[in-house]
Symmetry: C2
Amino acid sequence: MDQQSFRRFGHAMVDWVADYMTAVEAMPVSARVEPGEILRALPADPPAGPEPMERIFDDFRKTILPGMTHWQHPGWFAYFPANTSPPSILAEILTAGLGAQCMSWATSPAATELEEAVLGWLGKMLGLAGGFTGVIQDTASTSTLVALLTARERATGFASGRDGMRRPLVVYASEEAHSSVEKAARIAGYGRENLRLVPTDEAYAMIPAALERAVEEDGKRGLEPCCVVGTVGTTSSTAVDPLDAIGDICRARGMWLHVDAAYAGTAALLPEMRWILRGAEKADSLVVNPHKWMLTGFDCSAYFVRDSAALVRTFDVSPEYLRTAADDRVRNYRDWGIALGRRFRALKLWFVIRSYGVEGLRAVVREHLRLAGLFRAWVEEDRRFELMAPSPFGLVVFRLNDGRGEEALDALNRKLLALINATGKVFLTHTTLRGRYAIRLSIGQATTAERHVRLAWEIISKAAADLLPHPG
Amino acid sequence: MDQQSFRRFGHAMVDWVADYMTAVEAMPVSARVEPGEILRALPADPPAGPEPMERIFDDFRKTILPGMTHWQHPGWFAYFPANTSPPSILAEILTAGLGAQCMSWATSPAATELEEAVLGWLGKMLGLAGGFTGVIQDTASTSTLVALLTARERATGFASGRDGMRRPLVVYASEEAHSSVEKAARIAGYGRENLRLVPTDEAYAMIPAALERAVEEDGKRGLEPCCVVGTVGTTSSTAVDPLDAIGDICRARGMWLHVDAAYAGTAALLPEMRWILRGAEKADSLVVNPHKWMLTGFDCSAYFVRDSAALVRTFDVSPEYLRTAADDRVRNYRDWGIALGRRFRALKLWFVIRSYGVEGLRAVVREHLRLAGLFRAWVEEDRRFELMAPSPFGLVVFRLNDGRGEEALDALNRKLLALINATGKVFLTHTTLRGRYAIRLSIGQATTAERHVRLAWEIISKAAADLLPHPG
């Protein structure tokens, strides 16, 4: 493809994205396809000769698009947001065009130093105490794995290969912690059996006394308490673990404290929400995903670590072919995580922070919190519904409750969610809390406005009315 | 930023990328900056209010660009290529615009099924035997880690957490294998101590008899031989391990065979190069990076696995909030690797394969091989130089040798490389082979043509003449 064609199709695709930003509202949020439907529409063999870009672009619109679930839809209330924004998309064009591989300082000095600068900004924006150094990972799953690996190495004197993994190291997290903690514990060789899921209180937050008891019992059994993952904003109900008390326990026992604030950490942009990170100054590491709620397109997971030397010691490999003259004076981010190759991800975060400014980003988050507050109030005022958890962020967890038995309520709410999502105008997902089925409405996409939240409530109310035709 | 501004800046950035594709040739390949120079040019604090995109884009060009090392420069002969192409960049615009999170089938059905289809294509294009299933990972480091983790779990009956990592599992790779094997062995808890670096022959390829001896000795010492990593195209010299013989040893011992063909696998697009994957049908897993040599922008690492059930069993976690109605009928790629969140990476590979066609991609690879052959011949014909390894792909490994002692030769060639790279017109890197310093010239960027390789040779010849003013 020559330069002129690239230019022409590049403009056409930018225009398509610009149109998509508003056109998406008229599309069903979640794809209306059956398993295998797209696959069957695709040829089983690659083309021998070149195909014109017109046709490829056309197939994208006709075959791929109808099979997409639209994360940037204003009616997206599922899971957590993974929002993006025009400045983030613009930066991705440049990143793709540069095609730089940012593994070492020497392979892309500006990318390395921009990452250092922008994560310094982000730390300040979130009110993190000094002493943390930031690096961009792809996801919070990876960030949590990186934390568990560094904790493992620190606990074994960086000799897990010699004898460490023969020692039974234990990880602690609340029973509401994200599944990535279990996945990381398995990958890092702690094993599922050495992951303790600590009980939570009525707000689904970890009970520090229960953590302390678990740690003591393990110690008595000859196991080695190694790492605690505290969550700020759990996935099911955005509960906030008491980092302050957990941090004290970790410090007293020499355990690594990792804070998973992947979704909710963004709320710490707001001075009035800073309380959520109280105690984070006692943490060894912390993850916040700008790709969730900070208008920065996936992937961009900010991992902050106190002892970056321990991190580097866990991951560094320096074969001759990667050595450069600058090595002793620079950061080589390849040694700050698992993958050697790295995309230039700092650029989009830089574009977003500058384009919105800190106040602009705060305004977006504040509006999402206001909308969640509105929705929460509607649920509370409607006697057919009940809130299932406090959830102080953009998420509201609720269910229909007409007093029938718990099993029947689960079935009722499963039906309710199916009716809601069948409209195609909004998309919500579910969870369980203490074993009970609950519906999650998560507000955080860039274009979600009050009218979309009102529409969601109308759809939910109507579906409830259809299921409960005779209010008691 | 409103839709109209996005459109305007999107066009401007596409135009910038289009111009960059040719303008880059006039820029120094590797950045001419000192450590800290870019960082000092960036403000220490984020802006409180929004900044205009004009200014941000301007800063990108004035501050960031001069600090970039240009991987897409036609004079890029460093490391391995990480080439990209117009269709790949176009697809990235759409991927960024959709902002989809492709963790599960339900969260993006078309992305999941396109990934399945396109990796099916790729397997056929590379002549892989049936029975392999593909999934896109971010990098070969991650793919190799995924292989070592799956091997670990299979060897321990998927119970490494209970007792597996208390068992001493051993990994084997050649002494020329990539550093990511050591990194993966450490992360996965095998430990550096249980990684055996098997000796290589005069072509730097693993000696199967030496592998067999090492396996036997470990068995006698009560250790458990678990996994072998065979390399097709080592980093230092693109040596090809004899997969056929290695595969027989693995099958006889029940060991997992992982093939790292990250760079060189792309050459298997050519029927005349298919021999490099002879024996791959005995492998359990194999990685090829389209983001290295197949015109697909980073990141896109294709991981092929035979027993996908073992892979999924290693990584799956199914908390309630991730369950969907389709789960028993679909692939949820979140369970095929480490990270939960996933970008829509299949789109760019689809765009590239269709836009070039299989023959078009073959033509690109063939031309790179031809250019490497040319350069290799020039080195051979010039009595001042010697080839350091056979290197049957786009890489040529050589050094100046005027007969002085080995230590002195190392110093001489270090000087030579510094002189070459100081021109800013080409960028080469180095390695060591059997402890001796060697210069690597790797041909594989999309726009590298014969005149660039000729220029490289002129620069190298002139630098050699400067260092050896009086030919003997």
